[in-house]
């Protein structure tokens, strides 16, 4: 059984200059109601200056079963990090 209102994911921008971050979710009949519930539920203590609400059904997520295929190839590419390179000690500002 499920007659619940659709689920919305809530993203909060803590302050200007920062990106929106996932805070949680709310059930709401429409977008306006989702925004208002998100405001009451996730920003009672000045946690945010801006909100996004996104229908949860619209989120496409990677499968944990694919995690190795997706993310492990990065593990052996240490040359993508600056510390991989050897620079003579007397050379500065690099």
């Amino acid at each position: 059984m499920n007659n619940d209102w659709p689920l919305w994911e809530v993203f909060v921008r803590a302050k200007h200059g920062l990106s929106h971050k996932h805070a949680g979710s709310v059930h709401a009949a429409d977008a306006r109601m989702a925004l208002e519930s998100a405001r009451d539920t996730y920003t009672r203590r000045m946690e945010g200056v801006s909100l996004w609400v996104v229908p949860s059904a619209q989120i496409v997520a990677s499968d944990p079963g694919e995690a190795a295929a997706l993310f492990e190839p990065a593990a052996d590419k240490v040359y993508r990090h600056p510390t991989f390179y050897v620079i003579p000690e007397h050379v500065k500002n690099i």
Partner: protein, 333 residues
């Protein structure tokens, strides 16, 4: 409290649910992850029993937050000053928020809001026994903030590292908000304890009535809570009922002393060797009676809760109709 099994101790577990056969390789990998303090996320593989225990624990916890609004909500219009009204209103609103974080976290495991609300209203679901005691005087609001939220904090702080990610994240948010709840309660008690003889009596009376039910919030003694070991191994719980209860006594007794109130336990004594207080036996028969639904105001609580839900039905229907109308309008444009 919220993490204890609020089941009748005589109820036997259904044999089928113990015997669910799990893929042994997956189970080993899961247990290794949990043992390494990794977090489990909604789409990860997990044993059926882990999922089931979490749904029960989290929904019970959510119900406790929601029902917990009732005893305090009763006092919002009667709080003695505008400051106290504003504070109590904010606290009760926070508890509503806590319920929502936890319902949403439980839903990530495949249960629905509707199912959980139905389980609460039909009486199938349990919630913390503490909310089935009446709030007789204003001092009870002080005692609840100080003791009940104090106990909740001790219970919830370790759960910030519980193994299920959405639960742990909800706990982080909740813990940030609880400290004000406890402090406003202690402030009420401090003012009453330092007031007129009648006010002092009121504060002491509230402590007398709420002390033992608060100790019961941590749940039955460890030797009588058979699933604790499993829950600790899966990092669903991080400390046992008795450990948390002892911590509560140790931090709370000096707070009572500081405002000149007396903890109603003749056996209470500092134990130098243990570095802890010894305390008298908890009346577990009373606890199990309240679990069975025999709490003084259990029926009133559910009546108030169901009435609030039913009285709000027309608002939900109107919002649904409004949303549907706009979908049709948008499609026509």
């Amino acid at each position: 409290m919220y993490t204890t099994e609020l089941e009748d101790k005589n109820k036997k577990p259904a044999p089928r649910e113990v015997l669910v056969a799990e893929d042994p390789a997956k189970l080993v990998a899961f247990e290794a992850r949990v043992a390494a303090d990794e977090f489990i996320e909604p789409k990860d593989w997990m044993p059926a029993a882990y999922r089931k225990t979490l749904v029960r624990q989290m929904s019970q916890h959510a119900h406790s937050e929601i029902v917990g609004m009732l005893p305090e909500g009763n006092w919002i219009t009667r709080a003695p000053s505008l400051r106290r009204k504003a504070v109590l209103l904010a606290k009760v609103q926070d508890e509503g928020g806590h319920g929502l974080y936890l319902y949403a976290a439980a839903e990530t495991l495949g249960t629905s809001r509707e199912e959980m609300i139905e389980a609460l209203h039909s009486g199938r679901a349990k919630y913390s026994t503490i909310f089935n005691y009446p709030t007789l005087t204003w001092a009870d609001i002080g005692a609840i903030g100080w003791l009940v939220d104090g106990a909740a904090i001790l219970n919830q702080v370790p759960l910030q590292r519980t193994s299920y990610g959405p639960y742990a994240r909800a706990m982080v948010k909740i813990c940030k908000e609880e400290s004000f709840h406890q402090r406003q309660g202690f402030e009420i008690m401090t003012v009453l304890a330092g007031g007129s003889p009648e006010q002092r009596r009121m504060a002491q009376d509230a402590l007398d009535r709420w002390w033992w039910p608060s100790l019961m919030m941590f749940g039955p003694p460890d030797d009588n809570s058979p699933n604790t070991a499993q829950s600790i191994r899966w990092r669903i719980k991080r400390e046992t009922n008795d450990e948390l209860r002892q911590k509560f006594v140790d931090v709370t007794v000096p707070q009572a002393d500081a405002i000149g109130l007396k903890v109603p336990d003749p056996k209470l004594a500092w134990n130098e060797a243990r570095g802890s207080y010894d305390f008298g036996p908890v009346d577990w028969e009373e606890f199990y009676a309240v679990v069975r639904g025999e709490g003084l105001v259990a029926k009133d609580r559910m009546k108030a809760r169901v009435a609030a839900w039913e009285d709000g039905a027309w608002v939900r229907e109107a919002a649904t109709a409004h949303a549907a109308k706009h979908v049709v309008k948008a499609a026509a444009e």
